[in-house]
């Protein structure tokens, strides 16, 4: 069990470091996804399958994919060229190896691992939901207001005045 933890933890540390040091946004994000996946493996072997699933669905799934979309959208019109430049084998080979290690661990854990040995009770989505809407209801409400501030702030700061350019200049930009 310990070896699995150390492998997953090592992958998490290496990929986080690479995410910070990488100068290319897309590659950094790929490493970040990897780091989140390895953390979810750690959650899983600690006996928290629900947290592991949330980590994958919310962080690695939703947020990171959105990030990557946004970064790619910023270069509209040059997609093909960019994609070729970003996806050289040198760039994807390291994350793939790390991800492969995680996959092997994951399959092994699914086959061999029994939860009963590690933790007293496994908390499922139902219990979490009940707690969130009874005991911690107020916390959920505050988070809702927090997100409201985030949305309005994002709207205000992200909004740009419509630039009025001459159509001639517009055409040049398109080319």
């Amino acid at each position: 069990m310990n070896t699995i933890f150390y492998i997953a933890g090592g992958v998490a540390i290496i990929s986080s470091l690479l995410a910070i040091t990488n100068r290319n946004a897309i590659h950094a994000l790929l490493y970040l996804i990897l780091s989140l996946l390895s953390i979810s493996v750690i959650f899983y072997i600690l006996g928290a399958p629900f947290s592991a699933a949330l980590e994958v669905i919310v962080y690695a799934g939703a947020i990171m994919v959105l990030f990557i979309f946004v970064v790619m959208m910023l270069n509209i019109g040059l997609e093909e060229e960019q994609e070729n430049k970003w996806l050289t084998p040198r760039m994807w080979i390291v994350p793939s190896i790390l991800a492969l290690a995680l996959l092997i661990i994951f399959i092994y854990v699914l086959k061999e691992f029994q939860f009963e040995k590690t933790t007293a009770d496994i908390i499922g989505p139902k219990q979490v939901g009940i707690k969130m809407f009874t005991k911690y209801l107020l916390a959920v409400e505050i988070s809702a207001i927090l997100l409201l501030a985030g949305i309005i702030g994002g709207y205000h700061l992200g909004k740009q005045k419509k630039k009025v350019l001459h159509r001639f200049i517009d055409n040049i930009r398109k080319i």
């Binding site: 209801l137 107020l138 207001i145 501030a149 702030g153 709207y155």
Partner: protein, 473 residues
């Protein structure tokens, strides 16, 4: 949720409902004046609703909130300060173009965050309150996005506050891992039985880093001058008063609930941070020519003074902290109020040069500014003097000689740069001022002046209220 739960949550619910109502009215039509009037009304309503809560204290809404006298008093201070900041913001934004209604929405959310912080007694509400406050502050700092400094300040604040939050969360995690509870009181109970294990010291240390960032204490103060300078003047006032006050309130509550002053390791760390903050803040302020940066460094020193109260461990210390916070809030709002009122469309009146000859052009504003500066320095007859006196007394009663002496030394150092501000206002300058101050602006300044003088001359009025209120349940 019982009826009493709802009753006690009224102030928070009023503040939480305001941004939603404003947002919905904006979708129909934008009217700056209506939004402003509505904001004033809601802050007033929130303040008055505290009197409904008051007879029921101490009341605990398990597990997240506690409404005791300490939190009610600070909520009152926060809502008064928000009210004043709303007026200042209206005057300040009046000559700005663009969309100004969102500003008030976010101001309400930030105030809600501060209210949650003040009433929290659980790690979850602590963290959520802090995040609500910080996330709305990022937006407020960068609100005037056409100015260069604003965006820079916003990004700096965002990055550094996120790092601070990460530290704070990790510290909370370590404490939770070793005590098994997130409730402040229960952590205290578990600490007395287990003692301060290395894991707990690490946890407290990390939480201190997080709180230190938010309060701009010395090793973590780098962001303060830049953010103070870049943010719009009323927002800077918000950061200096409400944000720091709320974070300090929760720090006091946490530290007193876990009896942190009984553990030598924590006492030594906080003493060092406090002394360093006092000296660094005051020494760096000496050479500043930018008024906002000067106030930033002076706020570092003031928070250093306020840390003394953490170590006293007596209800006397809490009283001193509350009195100091209230007087500091009034005084700082006065200073930033003058800056907001003097500011013009393109930039803030933040250079000392802008104040040159102010006394000969507009004696009233110059007098207000002099009074706030004297109060910050702690000259008798102003609120600042009584506050410092209280603080020294509370420190000496608990035998904190080093801190009390360093406070007094630093007050002497600080006089140099405070008096320089006043000197600048009295020098003759040929520059032409065009000042037309609105009625509400004058009214706010009058209130602030009365507040400073009243607390300075008749402190017993507030001290009597405070001594009945400063119990942490």
């Amino acid at each position: 949720m019982t009826r009493l739960d709802f009753l006690c949550l009224t102030p928070l619910m009023i503040v939480a409902s305001a941004p939603i109502i404003i947002m919905l009215t904006i979708t129909l039509s934008r009217n700056y004046k209506v939004v402003y009037g509505f904001s004033l009304f809601m802050f007033l309503a929130a303040f008055l609703s505290l009197f409904i809560v008051l007879p029921n204290t101490p009341y605990r809404i398990a597990p997240l909130f506690i409404f005791d006298n300490f939190s009610i008093l600070l909520l009152g201070a926060i809502y008064c300060a928000s009210f004043i900041i709303t007026v200042l913001s209206y005057i300040y934004l009046n000559h700005q173009g663009g969309e100004r209604e969102e500003y008030f929405i976010i101001l309400f959310v930030a105030t809600l965050g501060a209210s949650v912080l003040v009433t929290a007694n659980h790690f979850i509400s602590f963290f959520l309150g802090l995040e609500t406050l910080s996330i709305s502050l990022y937006v407020l700092v960068a609100y005037l996005k056409n100015r260069n400094y604003c965006i820079e300040a916003g990004v700096k604040f965002l990055v550094i506050a996120s790092v601070a939050t990460a530290f704070l969360l990790f510290g909370m995690g370590l404490i939770y891992a070793s005590t098994g509870t997130m409730d402040f009181k229960e952590i205290g109970v578990s600490l007395t039985s287990s003692g301060l294990t290395p894991l707990l010291v690490a946890g407290f240390g990390m939480m201190l880093v997080g709180i230190g960032f938010k309060l701009a204490l010395v090793p973590f103060h780098m962001w303060t001058p830049d953010v103070y300078q870049g943010a719009p003047a009323p927002v800077t006032g918000f950061i200096a008063t409400i944000s720091k006050g709320a974070v300090l309130a929760i720090a006091i509550r946490f530290f007193f609930d876990v009896h942190g002053y009984q553990y030598t390791a924590l006492v030594i760390i906080i003493t060092i941070i406090s002394v360093l903050s006092m000296f660094t803040g005051n020494l760096l302020a000496l050479k500043q020519t930018n008024l906002k940066r000067l106030l930033a460094y002076s706020s570092i020193a003031h928070l250093g003074y306020l840390l003394i109260t953490l170590l006293t461990g007596t209800s006397y210390g809490i009283q001193a902290a509350v009195f100091y916070l209230v007087s500091y809030m009034i005084t700082t709002l006065g200073a930033f109020g003058v800056i907001s009122i003097l500011s013009i469309c393109e930039r803030d009146a933040e250079d000392l040069e802008d104040l040159k000859g102010l006394f000969w052009k507009n004696p009233w504003i110059a007098i207000v500014m002099s009074l706030t500066v004297l109060s910050l320095a702690g000259i008798p007859l102003t609120a600042g003097f009584i506050a410092k006196f209280y603080l020294v007394l509370a420190g000496l009663k608990s035998g904190l000689w080093v801190l009390a002496i360093s406070l007094i030394l630093n007050t002497v150092i600080s006089l140099y740069y405070y008096l320089r501000v006043i000197k600048t206002m009295f020098t003759v300058s040929e520059k032409d001022y065009k000042l037309n101050i609105s009625f509400t602006g004058n009214l706010v300044l009058v209130i602030i002046v009365i507040g400073i003088l009243f607390l300075g001359i008749l402190p017993s009025f507030l001290t009597e209220i405070i001594s009945g209120f400063s119990t942490i349940n």
